[in-house]
């Protein structure tokens, strides 16, 4: 490491390969040295300012949070009040907490803080009092800072008093802890709070790894520093998910990953898969897990070194296969290197390489992909296939905060895309092809029901994104109530199905009859279908309704959005001024002269349909 500077991307890679407690502490020091107060320039994700508000000592968890975020490419700075001061700081507008003004607030309460002094009242009343205390803290954070609120579940540090049937002693602290954690689930959903469910993780790791009574007595640490890297990872998974930055696609090797043996050598009868054989059952369990992931919205792809016919054979003919060919959105089996094939998969599915998780039992292939494509997540698989599902789940790649209807449909959407491609090949004339798609662009102003998807697109879209401005849920909500703003969400339907919300435009009136196009982004999977032109037609007609005479478009270059450099020029905008030093360009379109473009898309207003 040079003394001068460490670039952000190398730090991210170091974090991803960092394992263990002291490695994490060291990396955190390097991180703070170079990026302690300011995020790196050109960071494509929204910087996170996280306040950790705990009843016990929590300072020792901050390094894990920062490094956990770094692993996911997120810059996170932290603040925590002095021990025992969280409530005072929440209340007091002059406090350092208010100066820090977090966009993410993480609450962590220990069992004694919630139940310690409530002796003499009924267990039910104690539970209610604890829930009120928690809810009040959320409301204060929401009122003062808005943003993302996270509640850590309570560590069950108090031992049971009667044992297996502890529920027959409802006032025991052990049982109250269990019940408040249960209540937190429904409360969090009602209040729009996300849970950091360490109680679930403690079930897997064992309480003694998470809670050390010696540290509680010495330093009031409710969670051991030894697990602070895990704690940070868990939090980072959900912060990344909130930014729409979870991974989208699981790319699977076949031989010795989905079944035992090599289909090309061992043949259909020779591969190990199915009941009656422990190894065969392990591969079945892996397939069952993968299938369940796909049913909740993770896209599946296959990347195998095989003759395609051999690779397809088990999918078509093996009676025990749980995964079917139709579950796989993109199936690539050939003899090219896997980095090339992963690029092809990302290309065919129209998603970023940084959305791929590559699972392969071969160390050689994993290392090759790591070297060639550092943005692809490549888990270091455990030796036994029995462990694969648990290991993949633990990495939190596909963390989701809500399952939207779109998630459940996703696999179908990508299947439909492949059908579109097939049709394209059979029709030689592009216009005929576009006409045959029978496209309909259904639009409306931002709607609360779709808020999550809108926020996801705003934070995740890199390529077709003119300005790459990232907004959180609160900022989007504020835009929705601003009469000077135009907020459009666009859904594209065609004969093969619903593509979901594929476009977002945000316009802001800035006076003198001008409207600034603050944000224009689209999902790359609908490119080349005249959606841009149809969208512009729509923006113009909506802007006219607001009395706008001129649109101002802006292009702000990033590492990833060069594909839209000429977007406004292609749509007939006039350059407004010479390019600035940072490469930013501005463009204008006079609405008086504008003639609507011919497209192959019917545009339909669905604003009043809900």
């Amino acid at each position: 490491m040079t003394e001068a500077t460490v670039d952000w991307q190398s730090l991210v890679l170091m974090a991803q390969s960092c394992s263990g407690f002291t490695d994490m502490l060291k990396l955190d020091r390097v991180l703070r040295k170079y990026y302690g107060t300011e995020p790196p320039e050109g960071l494509s994700s929204k910087p996170i300012t996280l306040a950790m508000l705990g009843s016990a000592s929590v300072e020792h968890l901050l390094a894990g949070l920062r490094v956990g975020a770094l692993k996911r490419g997120l810059w996170l700075s932290t603040y925590t009040p002095a021990y025992g001061q969280y409530l005072q700081e929440l209340f007091s507008p002059d406090s350092s907490l208010h100066t820090f003004k977090p966009n993410t607030t993480l609450f962590a309460f220990d069992v004694f803080h919630l139940f310690g002094i409530a002796m003499g009242i009924s267990p039910e009343a104690q539970l209610e009092a604890a829930c009120d205390k928690i809810r009040n803290a959320w409301h204060l954070a929401h009122k003062n800072f808005g943003g993302h609120i996270i509640q850590q579940t309570v560590v069950p540090q108090f031992p049971p008093l009667i044992g297996n049937n502890e529920h027959r002693l409802p006032g025991s602290l052990y049982w109250l802890t269990h019940r408040v954690n249960e209540r937190l689930r429904s409360m969090a959903d009602e209040e729009g709070v996300d849970l950091l469910a360490i109680d679930g993780r403690i079930m897997i790791d064992g309480l003694s790894n998470w809670f050390n009574p010696i540290l509680w007595h010495m330093a009031k640490q409710d969670i051991s520093p030894a697990v602070s890297p895990i704690y940070g990872d868990l939090a980072a998974h959900l912060i990344a998910a909130r930014q729409g930055r979870s991974y989208k696609c699981l790319v699977l090797d076949l031989d010795n990953t989905l079944w035992g043996g090599v289909i090309g050598d061992d043949g259909l009868e020779g591969i190990v898969l199915g009941q009656g054989n422990a190894q065969g059952e392990a591969y079945l369990a892996m397939q069952r897990y993968v299938k369940a992931l796909s049913e909740r919205g993770v896209i599946l792809a296959v990347c195998s070194k095989n003759d395609e016919a051999n690779a397809l054979l088990p999918f078509e003919q093996h009676p025990e296969m749980i995964l079917k060919r139709s579950d796989i959105a993109c199936f690539i089996a050939n003899w090219q290197d896997k980095a090339t094939n992963l690029r092809e998969i990302a290309h065919q599915l129209n998603i970023g390489l940084d959305s791929l998780v590559f699972v392969d039992d071969s160390l050689y292939e994993r290392n090759l992909v790591r070297r060639e494509l550092s943005m692809v997540a490549v888990p270091e698989l455990p030796e036994s296939p029995s462990q694969y599902p648990y290991f993949i789940a633990e990495q939190g790649y596909f963390e989701a905060l809500n399952i939207t209807p779109e998630d459940r449909e996703r696999s179908k959407q990508y299947q439909a895309n492949l059908k579109r491609e097939a049709l394209k090949l059979s029709i030689t004339n592009m216009d005929d092809y576009l006409r045959s798609l029978e496209m309909e662009l259904r639009w409306q102003v931002f709607h609360r029901t779709d808020l999550q998807r809108v926020v996801q697109l705003i934070n995740k879209t890199n390529q077709f994104n003119l300005t790459t401005r990232r907004y959180g849920e609160d900022e989007v909500l504020a835009l929705m109530t601003d009469p000077q703003s135009l907020t459009l969400q666009l859904r594209l339907i065609d004969r093969f199905g619903d593509n979901g919300i594929i476009g977002i435009v945000i316009g802001r009136s800035i006076g003198n009859g001008d409207m600034m196009i603050d944000t224009w982004l689209m999902s790359c999977r609908v490119l080349g279908r005249t959606v841009e032109q149809a969208t512009l037609n729509l923006v113009v007609s909506e802007a006219r309704c607001l009395g706008i005479q001129r649109l101002i478009g802006e292009y702000r270059p990033t590492d990833k959005n060069s594909m839209v450099r000429e977007h406004y020029s292609n749509l007939g905008f006039i350059p407004m001024e010479t390019a600035r030093e940072d490469g930013r360009t501005q463009w204008t379109l006079l609405l008086g002269d504008f003639q609507a473009y011919n497209t192959f898309i019917a545009v339909k207003d669905t604003t009043d349909e809900r």
């Binding site: 263990g20 407690f21 002291t22 060291k26 040295k33 020792h60 010495m218 330093a219 051991s224 520093p225």
Partner: protein, 82 residues
């Protein structure tokens, strides 16, 4: 594990925790000799030792440590027993 081997492991732990490869430890080193060795980092050091040597300390043991020499002796005793 002899004194030198334990000292070498401890030095590595200190280098990582403080991100400072210039730290030199001896049996006489105490918390006063290293600027950032406060109570917060003290616990991190204890935890790092527990993880590195796969041992667990008791409260009385932690409280009895006066310098690196004490730590080396305690680690050797517990490491042997484990």
């Amino acid at each position: 594990m002899n004194d030198d081997e334990v000292l070498k492991e401890l030095t590595e732990i200190f280098h990582q925790i403080f991100d400072d490869d210039t730290i030199v430890l001896s049996r006489q080193t105490t918390a006063h000799d290293i600027a950032e060795w406060d109570s917060f980092n003290h616990i991190n050091i204890i935890i790092a030792i527990e993880i590195r040597f796969k041992i667990k300390f008791q409260i009385a043991e932690i409280e009895s440590l006066r310098n690196i020499g004490d730590a080396i002796d305690l680690i050797q005793k517990k490491y042997k027993a484990s």
